[in-house]
Subunit: 137 residues, 2 copies
Amino acid sequence: MARDRFHYNVKEALEKDGWIITADPLAIPIGITTIEIDLAAEMAIGAEKDGLKIAVEIKSFLSKSPISEFHMAMGQYGDYREALEESEPERILYLAVPIEIYRTFFQARFIKKRIEQEKVKLVVYESENKSIVEWIN
Amino acid sequence: MARDRFHYNVKEALEKDGWIITADPLAIPIGITTIEIDLAAEMAIGAEKDGLKIAVEIKSFLSKSPISEFHMAMGQYGDYREALEESEPERILYLAVPIEIYRTFFQARFIKKRIEQEKVKLVVYESENKSIVEWIN
């Protein structure tokens, strides 16, 4: 399935960038149920004991309705960020989006406004090359 | 389809409550695409020229993963509220949820916290009776 390929390719892109994948998926119990974020990764920083920790929710935007995928991504981002805030406040949440969608749909006025309002952090990836293009904080 | 029945029943419940349905769905152009909210309704208030205006996004929570439906609902609510803020700031957005789900899933700590954090307004409905149970602002 294409969605699975995107997942695998982003995972490999992060590894090529020096990240160590620590969970796939990252499960966070929230009482009534468990939230699952696609990936957790860590990177050592100099001699610091605790490295940088991230969680990454991967979006392919392969469906025929990018705006529906966007609604879902925004909802997941808000809920996941709160779940992380409760369990591991030091872990930073990123939404992974393909470069093709970042250069088109994500440049639309309304989409940019919503990303800014909700302070969503993005990691832009190139799926075929299995590479990370840009981190947008 | 069950989802369509819920839509029709909430529409009828609002009408029984004195609301006049003015759009089904309510389409809001946002530049790159159009956002569609399930229903728009109005109610006259006394002798005022402009009545109360609402938009309602109907959720059935019939799927096997209520948390996934919740993520989607939260994303839609945030995006729809912003689209309304740009086009008709006086129109109030509600998320319609069935009483069975409101009494169970929506009472969970994490869910209540998220609803409060995002200031989501709810309208609780009983589908079989086609009635509105409660407005939660």
